[in-house]
Amino acid sequence: MSAFWIVLLSVCAGTVLSSVLACLPGLHVYNVMGAMVLGILALEGGTHAIPPDVYLPAMTGMIVGWSMLNTIPAVLLGTPDESAMFTVLPGQKYLMAGRGFEGTMITAVGGLAGAFFLVCVMAPLAPRYLPVSQQVLKGHMHWVLWVIITFMLMSEWPKGGNRGPAGWAKFFDAWKTLIAGLITFLLAGLLGFILLTRSPVGHEVAFQNIMPAFVGLFAIPWCLLNMISAANVPPQRTAKSLAINGDVILRSVWSGGLGGGIAAYFPIVTGGVGGMLAGHATAQRDERIFIMGQGVSKFIYYVGAFMLLFVPGLNLTRGGGAWMIKTLYTPLGWADYYLVLGSIAVASGIAFLMMEPLTKLTLKFIDRFNYRHVSTVALAIIIFMVVAVTGWIGLFIAVVATGIGLLPVLFGSRRLNCLGILLLPIACNMSGFGETITGWLRLT
């Protein structure tokens, strides 16, 4: 079989697999890819070794499929990942109004627009301009991170304290959510220092040592909350058209592309943080732009970050997918770049076409099964994944992280504060005083 057909079949298989897996709430594509990496390494050197021509396009398809179809559980089942920011509230509003199908499809159109933007606009420019900008910016990343952290913490506004008599009670009411946000950021940061300096996860699977914490911070709290206070989903309607137009798409690409681009390019910054920065920068107020922009942002964040590894002359490692590929393969030259771009384009088309049937299938599923039971099954799958890859110690880390991840959900502060797990230790390390802090914590 020629290389063309091998690549095409691999990208199709990867996309279809991840599209189906994306509908499972709480399961992150990087967990599945991590398990695949283990399998590829186990087969390495034997007669059944998997060549890069198979796993590179397959993994590209998996990231593309997941970044587009993960919208389904995020909107319909309320289990967003760390890149979601605004999707959940507007998405849930669509769901509660019986328009969950429309909400997911609008996000999918955003993903498709993101794919066009990435392949047709970013890809031709990246090899020429990104290596230069990387040379200029790489000495400044530490203070950029601190500025982002400062903006993230300071831009959270008080959600109470505007009624009632003046006094400590009113002050506390105003500051309750802000304090919860700050505590979340600091606790997550402390957890990050422990995991990045003396991770209790076994060294044999150290490449997944942050995974249990991420699962605990983002996936488990949502499952738990749904199990405790699940809302009944009203009957859902499907639609043959979407309430969007070219203007909405262009404005979504502008805001989402900026947010996703920031997240993909800067280290540790995730789609949620990028979306927040872009949201403030572009000041788009239309709810549809929020939802579609998130589709664009999520696509650029996950797929764009992965693509950066293959940009000739840049080879920037950003995001979990790129780090995992790097343990298997070192991209070299334009052939790999074209391979990945082609895979992205093909996978985007397939993933978008799968969006409608899988959304309808999921709607049927949640109509038939109890929302709490779905969340319970999702939680069981997540726990199984954590234990299978990182053992019981990983589960313990996930439990601790769950405690931190529940704080913003229950106190009404931003879930983005959980990203302190990476932002705080990495910013300290890049600024040169990380070791001083780990020394205070007696970790080094």
Partner: protein, 512 residues
Amino acid sequence: MTENKQALPGHETQSSEMNCPSCGRFVGAVSKCPYCGAKVEKRMSLVATRWAAVLLATIGLFLLWLMAVKRDVPVVRLSDVQPTMNFAQIRVEGTVKTDARPFRTGTGMSFNFTDGTGSIIVFVSKKQMDAMTEQNLIPKAGDQVSFIGGLNVSDDQLSMRLLSVKDFRLTRAVAESVRLGDITEALKGTSVTLAGKVTRLEPPPEGSNRPYALHIRDDSGEQVVNFWQSEYEQIENPDALPGAFVRLRVSVATYQKQLQLKLGSARDLEILDGPPAAPAPVLSPAQKAAETYRKTTPPVSRDFSRGRASDAPALAPADITADRKGHTVRVRGRVTSVTPPKAGTKQPFAVMLRDGDASLRVTYWSSTDEFIADKPVPGAVFEMEGVVDVYRDRPQLMVESGYKVRQIEAAPAPAEAPAPVAVSAITAADKGQIRTVEGTLGAPRDLGKGTAYTLTDESGSLDLVLWHSTVPAEVRDALAEGQTVAATGVIGEYENQLQLKANPGESVRPLR
């Protein structure tokens, strides 16, 4: 208590606490309505969950911290390192293979380490380097070390980043006590202990980059020990050195075909109260052990070429054309020049590879250079793998991994320089011929890509040109105005003036 308001259309099926009692909108788990600000009463379960979460987070984090602090970091053999161990914090124990070398950028240093089963490059941050300098922990070849580091495993690179200086345990290699007259090239690459009387301390000339020269003598002979300004500043009483008896530990190297003794740290220098006892010329057990160590065959490095279906095709420089842009290829050729980036710039290294009449420009970044075990030098044969690119309409090779730069054949020893001739004896008929001239250097003149000096002897003067791409920086930096040198090069002509173009390598040698 607020009276429950009628739920809005579409929200009828929700339990009452999911909707705002004031405006009837769906509010989910929040306790204050984001639309109207009304307080939303929740059942006990959510309130309890909040405090349970706070409790879980703090107690769990404390337990995790205790676990991390009390846990022993596992000792891992380098042969057991797998790609799934990327980011792992492990302890390794073994021997330092090469002296620690600071980065050109001043951001830290690196050294190569082996535990007998494999070898790895270890990166040390600037802050850690400063702390290690202060504690005399800078690793030198042969030292035994044990430390904790963070692993970085990628497809073809394996490296570690030192986690903490506090956990860095170092046992200095046994340094043989040798008499000054017994130091030969056989000791190259080792550390030795010397003792003797300082006859002279020669500071570097004003404005030059040369090191200090400490002349010491014992019964068997005299040697010069070199060290830099930073070490000089650390010596407690440098004024007491001339005439004093000293004991010092130095590393033996060669520079410009001559033995060089380098003092790595001021802590390795001890001023004695009186004459030291002369070391026995016979080999001690420690010396024998050190001898055995020197003869040990270095372990075969691990193969990190996983994941590649096949090696990139091997081509000659003549086969590299613009049509191959984007292709990954291996090219073998003799290095004709090496141009490092100019100080303060982010330029790449540029190496010219030649095979027959064809030559190819190869470039790589400083970050890649740090991983190259044997640095390219003019005259050596190298094989390099990279991606073909086009620069100013000419094909060039961009190397992206230091592990893809391999020395195939070391640079041949330079041919015996011809006997010195007087400047006045050089005529236009000598153009293209190799000549050696002994003379005094005039003021240096910057040529952009090179430096020119006026070389004067008793019979006349001519220009000596040193191109940066062929003459190593160590050679160029050792030259200063007023110095007497022997220069070997090719006679050329520029603007009707004869000039001596210094040969590649160590072609200009200070005489006094």
